[in-house]
């Protein structure tokens, strides 16, 4: 039995039956990491000593029959924009290359309390900006399904770790699709909850009104398990909320959740150019849903066609402001060049410390917020965001879920030279859920030549709808 091929819920049963120990499982994962990292580069930091000592502790808890948390003994990876106390937190940027987090994020506290074993910090696009995990200062991550391909982004390291058996579960962040798009590219499940369901305290902000924390698992049940642990209102994050729909029990074995649900497919998505593999997976999924007793209708979703433009205006404006704390005064990369003023010190340090993608977005965002462009772009984009939200509200008056592929394309080769605009397009289907704050899940359609992520989006605080529908879809595909 290959211990790393067990899912989290299977591991937990195994521990309870004393089939194997947590130390054995953790060691098995560390062995895979050792063997594969050279090729995959899913991690920036591997915390092997920490993981093994935690594993021994959890084993002793099992031996003493002490009460265990929901994730007791489950090894997982945490995206490197999340603070884990006394461990490097680089956000895949040179500017934080040697930054050691002096405190835990709330989610780190929660997974620790639940007994999870943190294997390390996963690679990502620098500061979570990107859709390929190629913008990491620590080198690109490769897709375990085919190492010539990108794993997607920005949580590409987290997705690759789970898909490549270098972690059982992984924590990602999702600002415009960063859990769901790479989940789709890696043939695993990626979930993003209702905005605010998981505390952002201790997570480096990218675009704070869009950022959410999501989960990766090799099946829906695993992704759900991790979400249950991370969710909950936190006094340290004023935007966090209680979301009881995340902890509702779900029958993963027998639940007939697709019967009589109403699924909407936005009309604009039907006329889009999709990769043929994606297109046929999409069509098959619609057929599968109908087969299971769901209604699938084509609907108008107002203003959806402006999503990408509005997203980039707003997100870059927030990025410009969120990146300004990295001034290299209190922490982070400090230039070695001589400087004669603090402005120069900022300038040299930041131009050395940030990668191109980050710099570009800071400049775009700063420009958008500067006086003359502001009312034309920024204020209007805020208004359109409200309209897009309203479009979602209208659809959810009559429908339980919105269906689309997770990305219009299959993962591109690592060395492909797609334009930025083309790459930004790969977040096309995932971004609307971030604009509207809705929960959304990518579940792999595995009936074709390459796994394709199928995206289900539900109304705010109806996260359980995503999990229920996805779990039955997954079961029917087996």
């Amino acid at each position: 039995m290959d211990l790393t091929h067990l899912k989290a819920h299977e591991l937990i049963k195994g521990y309870e039956n004393r089939d194997f120990t947590c130390t054995e499982v953790t060691q098995a994962y560390l062995d895979v990491i050792k063997a594969k990292e050279q090729d995959i580069n899913a991690y920036i930091t591997v915390t092997d000593n920490l993981a093994l000592s935690r594993a021994q502790y959890v084993d002793s808890m099992y031996e003493n029959r002490e009460e265990q948390g929901l994730l007791a003994g489950v090894p997982l990876a945490i995206k490197d924009n999340v603070a884990v106390k006394d461990v490097k937190m680089t956000a895949a940027s040179k500017i934080l290359e040697n930054f050691i987090a002096p405190y835990n994020s709330t989610l780190t506290e929660k997974v620790n309390e639940a007994g999870a074993i943190i294997l390390g910090k996963a690679n990502m696009d620098e500061f979570a900006m990107g859709a390929t995990t190629r913008s990491s200062y620590f080198g690109a991550t490769k897709n375990p399904l085919d190492p010539k391909l990108i794993p997607g982004g920005s949580s590409g390291g987290s997705a690759a770790a789970v898909s490549g058996f270098e972690a059982c579960l992984a924590v990602g962040t999702d600002t415009g699709g960063s859990t769901r798009q790479p989940a789709g590219f890696n043939g695993i499940v990626g979930f993003k909850p209702t905005y605010g369901s998981v505390s952002r305290f201790g997570i480096a902000s990218m675009a704070n009104t869009f950022d959410t924390v999501g989960s990766f698992g090799r099946d829906v049940e695993d992704a759900h398990l991790l979400m249950q642990v991370m969710a909950g209102r936190d006094m340290k994050d004023a935007t966090s909320i209680d979301n009881p729909s995340l902890t509702k029990p779900i029958d993963f074995e027998n639940g007939a959740y697709l019967k009589d649900i109403k699924v909407a497919v936005p009309k604009v998505y039907l006329n889009m150019e999709l990769d043929s593999v994606v297109k046929s997976a999409f069509d098959s999924t619609i057929a599968l849903l109908k087969d299971a007793g769901a209604t699938v209708d084509v609907v108008d979703l107002e203003n959806l066609e402006y999503t990408i433009q509005v997203y980039h205006i707003l997100v870059n404006s927030e990025i410009a402001s969120n990146m300004s704390r990295f001034d290299s005064l209190r922490y982070g990369h400090r230039t070695q060049r001589p400087y004669s003023s603090y402005e120069e010190m900022f300038k040299f340090s930041r131009s050395e410390g940030f990668g191109d993608e980050v710099k570009k977005r800071i400049m775009v965002g700063t420009h958008i917020l500067s006086l003359d462009a502001k009312s034309n772009y920024y204020q209007k984009a805020l208004q359109v965001r409200t309209l897009i939200k309203k479009g979602f509200d209208d659809v959810f008056k009559n429908y339980d879920l919105i269906l689309s592929p997770s990305a219009p394309i299959l993962p591109i080769p690592l060395d492909s030279t797609m334009s930025d605009v083309e790459i930004y397009q790969s977040d096309l289907f995932t971004i609307p859920a971030n604009m509207a704050g809705c929960p959304s899940i990518s579940v792999p359609y595995t009936g074709g030549s390459f796994p394709v992520g199928m995206l289900l989006t539900a109304d705010r605080l109806r996260d359980d709808m995503c999990f229920k529908a996805a779990s039955e879809m997954e079961r029917r595909l087996k």
Binding site: F201, A320, S324
Partner: protein, 474 residues
């Protein structure tokens, strides 16, 4: 020529909450640099602000005391700029939807009371402090996140005197309600003034000058007057100038140019998405209003009408919360409010050093009531009463014990006083002659002699009466 002076004030007030605006670091002045900081004030990656509820409550108290309209929904914004002591690269403030708008504060002027308008009050946070050395600059982040309110007045003041009166009144009000210690020297009250002048005949106006960081009330008044004169001179010489920022040079008594503003600074304001909008309802506002103490102006008016005090006495007695409280607790148990007022105004206040900031006496109000009762009932005389009070300050003993100890009880017994009177008359035949010859002044001398003989204990009224009677019979 007739000129209209236009003066507006921008005031930053530090709130004296226990913790900072957006984290739980202690909010106090001074201390070792960088000892009151946390991931939030230092803007470490992942740190997030959470609004301290007391910052909201204190701001609401200030807004209500300044007669403002409270916005039921306000929000926070980011003011983006780079500066070494600004950790996040932006300052959290309120820009387009502040917590309170449209208030006023009444000041006394030579032409009677005048309302000075207030545009808005906004909540914001302070930044760190740079300490410049010879070759290096060190930064103290203790002040990062210290809660401030910015109060922007309307340009309703017409002179340095009015500007100063407004600022002083504002300080007293905020201090009275306890939301700030408003100390200019410690930076918990900071004032910038905006001045320009309009030629009422031609309608021509000078460009607004901003004088920054004035650190005393006197400087505010002087700087305004200096600028008014400078602006009038500009108009008279037909000169114009760009918007300038100046500072006050106290040594030379003039303002000095800091910079010329060519364009408005671009702060790239945007909503602070890490904080939720502040939404409050009428019930919440009323709860805060109920916590508000009586304001100085209201208290003074009530003292005049309820206790029948003079305008001056009422002003002094309401100049500090503690003093007013002391007066009222004594007056509640003693039916002659004017006597209470007189004793406090003269005998008590001369012995209390810091009336305004920290009025404190070493005895209870009840002890003071007891003393006044001794005097009022004639058990001790006025002079003995003053002695007792002095002793109460020094030894902190009770009035009855002091009187007993020093034997100060007034002697109102005819026969005892008669003995002293007889002795004095026997010793001073010349004075008797004088009185009979119409020289009244000698009477005072004889009374004094009797008092002396009684060691101050004789009832002066009785002494006088007995002396008169006995001399007449002679």
């Amino acid at each position: 020529m007739s000129y209209k002076t236009i003066v507006g004030l921008e005031i930053h007030v530090e709130l004296s909450t226990v913790t900072k605006a957006f984290c739980s670091c202690e909010n106090t002045f001074g201390g070792e640099p960088n000892t009151r900081v946390c991931p939030v004030c230092l803007a470490l990656p992942g740190a997030m602000p959470v609004l301290n509820e007391n910052v909201l409550n204190y701001t609401l108290m200030a807004a209500l005391a300044l007669n403002c309209t409270i916005n039921k929904e306000s929000k926070f914004d980011r003011k983006n700029y780079f500066y070494p002591d600004l950790t996040k690269g932006f300052q959290i403030t309120q820009n387009d939807r502040p917590i309170a708008v449209e208030g006023h504060l009444t000041i006394d002027t030579d032409n009677g009371p005048k309302d000075i308008g207030i545009y808005q009050i906004q909540m914001e946070e302070d930044t760190g402090k740079s300490l410049h050395g010879d070759n290096e600059t060190l930064i103290d982040y203790n002040r990062c996140g210290v809660p401030l309110i910015e109060i922007v007045s309307k340009p309703d003041m017409a002179s340095g005197k009015e500007g100063r009166a407004f600022l002083e009144n504002l300080r007293n009000t905020l201090k009275f309600i306890g939301v700030s210690d408003v100390k200019m020297e410690e930076g918990s009250l900071r004032c910038d003034v905006n001045v320009n002048v309009k030629d009422e005949l031609t309608g021509k106006k000078t460009a607004v000058t901003e004088v920054k960081n004035l650190n005393s009330f006197r400087a505010v008044e002087k700087a305004i007057d200096f600028e008014v004169a400078r602006h009038i001179a500009l108009l008279e010489n037909g000169e114009d100038e760009l918007r300038t920022t100046r500072r006050w040079d106290d040594v030379n008594g003039q303002t000095v140019l800091m910079r010329v503003k060519y364009t408005q600074a671009d702060y790239r304001f945007q909503p602070e998405g890490d904080l939720v909008p502040v939404v409050i309802d009428d019930a919440y506002i009323e709860t805060i209003r109920a916590q508000l103490p009586e304001l100085p102006a209201d208290k003074k008016a009530r003292f005049i009408s309820a206790y029948n005090l003079s305008e001056y006495d009422a002003a002094v007695l309401t100049s500090s919360v503690q003093l007013a409280e002391f007066f009222e607790s004594v007056a509640a148990k003693f039916d002659d409010a004017n006597m209470v007022s007189n004793w406090i105004m003269t005998e008590v206040l001369r012995r209390v050093e810091d009336t305004e900031d920290n009025f404190e006496v070493p005895f209870e109000a009840d002890d003071f009531v007891e003393l006044l009762n001794f005097v009022k009932s004639g058990k001790i005389n006025n002079n003995a009463g003053k002695k007792v009070l002095r002793e109460m300050f020094e030894s902190k003993a009770k009035p009855a014990d002091i009187i007993e100890d020093k034997g100060l009880l007034q002697v109102s017994d005819d026969s005892a006083i008669g003995v002293w009177v007889d002795e004095v008359l026997k010793d001073n035949p010349q004075s008797i002659e004088d009185i009979k010859g119409g020289k009244d002044r000698a009477m005072g001398f004889l009374v004094g002699q009797v008092m002396k003989k009684s060691k101050g204990k004789a009832n002066p009224g009785l002494v006088n009466k007995l002396l008169q009677e006995k001399i007449q019979k002679m």
